[in-house]
């Protein structure tokens, strides 16, 4: 206090400040200060507690509710997408096994058809081969027949050049023996 009084005294330019009490402790204005303090403080308290603070807390609550509900919604959508993913995988697996079945069946059918066809063609070929072989055997037999006759004729012609005569039966016998020896 002494410092303040000193300051007040030294800095005062008129005599008024020296005589008057230090303004912060001047009781002249206590009543006025308290009265207006009460008015303004209560006014501010009333305005804040009735209107402004409820509005602020309302806004904050609304926001936190909104955030909570948004998070709930996000979780719900997330679950939905996970389920959809699962369903998709299930469907995919089903489709894959179905495709495998279809492919298997098609392959079996084709193989069966192939086997039947092969068997049919084989049988056909065997039959044709048999016919052909029969014909070849017959042709060979016919040819052999002709070869014998040609040999007999040739032998007859050769020995007749040497002036020898031989009977048909002898010639045939000799040719047959020779052919048998070669075979």
């Amino acid at each position: 206090m002494s410092l303040l009084a000193f300051l007040a005294e030294t800095a005062a330019h008129g005599g008024e400040a020296v005589k008057a009490p230090f303004p912060a402790f001047d009781p002249t204005w206590y009543a006025s200060q308290l009265f207006w303090l009460a008015i303004f403080f209560l006014g501010l308290y009333f305005a804040l507690s009735r209107f402004i603070l409820p509005k602020l807390s309302d806004t904050l609550e609304k926001r936190s509710n909104r955030i909570a509900s948004d998070l709930d919604e996000a979780a719900r959508l997330n679950n939905q997408s996970v389920e959809a993913q699962k369903a998709l995988e299930l469907r995919l697996a089903q489709a894959r096994s179905k495709a495998r079945d279809t492919a298997d069946k098609a392959r079996e059918k084709t193989e069966a058809e192939l086997a039947t066809e092969t068997a049919r063609v084989d049988a056909d070929l065997a039959r044709k081969l048999e016919t052909a072989e029969g014909r070849i055997a017959k042709l060979r037999a016919d040819a052999m027949q002709n070869v014998e006759q040609i040999a007999i004729d040739t032998a007859d012609a050769m020995i007749s050049r040497f002036g020898v005569k031989a009977s048909k039966a002898d010639l045939k016998k000799a040719v047959t023996t020779a052919l048998e020896k070669r075979a």
Binding site: L7, S32, L34, L37, L48, T59, L60, K62
Partner: protein, 258 residues
């Protein structure tokens, strides 16, 4: 002619105490009391008006996505609510509007007082003392209403041996009685001292320049800048301390047995 500023605007008072002088703007006496509307009342009106305007604008928007001023209002709300909750507990939230009003009333007055020519209403003991007394009356009133005579258990902590009680109880009573005084005095003294210091430094700048030592007046001038910043901090801090201590005292009223 009395303007709601100390002295005429172009005049610069060289008296550091001059800024605390109260003078009536509208004379009014009622019931034998001088209830004049003074410069102090005017600046109290300005500070409460600014607080109300700021918070009113911040609250009225109510947008889901806040803009700057709304965000500031909501931050203030959260700041004070957290302070009340962490200091006085959930039950202390009953007093949230009161603490909020107290904080913003003092903050507004302190901040408005930082502007040149403005009057700092919180630099008067009548104002800060009255606020402190109101706080203590609420604490005592609620404490007795809530706990009955158990409220006075505040002065007799548990688990203290009887002989120590003889010393402890008077000390507790004295410290409790000192609360309104220290609470009011702290704010008042901080505001008063801060403004005197600013004024003295400012006067010193002019005096040095007037004495032909303009080069030397740079020293107090440069010193004035950080001190002004410090005073803004003090203006906020004192409002915060006042509100925080109110919460601490309210906690005693809610739970007297510590």
């Amino acid at each position: 002619m009395n303007l709601p500023i100390h002295g005429f605007l172009p005049t610069i008072a060289t008296d550091p105490i001059h800024q605390f002088k109260i003078f009536p703007l509208l004379e009014w006496t009622a019931g034998g009391y001088n209830l004049s509307f003074t410069n102090s009342s005017f600046w109290m009106l300005v500070s409460t008006g600014l607080v109300l305007a700021f918070l009113g604008v911040a609250a009225s928007r109510g947008g889901l996505i806040p803009n700057r001023i709304q965000s500031l209002g909501e931050l203030s709300y959260g700041f004070i609510a957290d302070m009340v909750r962490s200091t006085a507990g959930e039950e202390g939230l009953k007093f949230f509007p009161f603490v909020f009003t107290l904080f913003f009333f003092i903050l507004g007055a302190n901040m408005v007082g930082m502007f040149p020519y403005a009057f700092t209403t919180t630099s008067h003991i009548a104002v800060t003392g009255a606020l402190a007394v109101v706080v203590i009356l609420i604490v005592v009133g609620y404490g007795i209403y809530k706990n009955g005579l158990g409220f006075f258990g505040l002065f007799a902590p548990h688990g203290v041996p009887l002989p120590v009680m003889f010393f402890l109880v008077p000390i507790e009573i004295i410290s409790f009685l000192a609360r309104p005084i220290t609470l009011g005095m702290r704010l008042f003294a901080n505001m008063l001292a801060g403004h005197i210091m600013l004024k003295l430094l400012a006067i010193f700048v002019v005096m040095l320049a007037g004495a032909g030592l303009a080069w030397a007046s740079w020293v107090p001038y440069l010193l004035l800048i950080p001190i002004t910043a410090l005073e803004f901090l003090v203006a906020f801090l004192q409002a915060y301390v006042f509100a925080l201590l109110t919460c601490v005292y309210l906690k005693d009223a809610i739970h007297p047995h510590h």
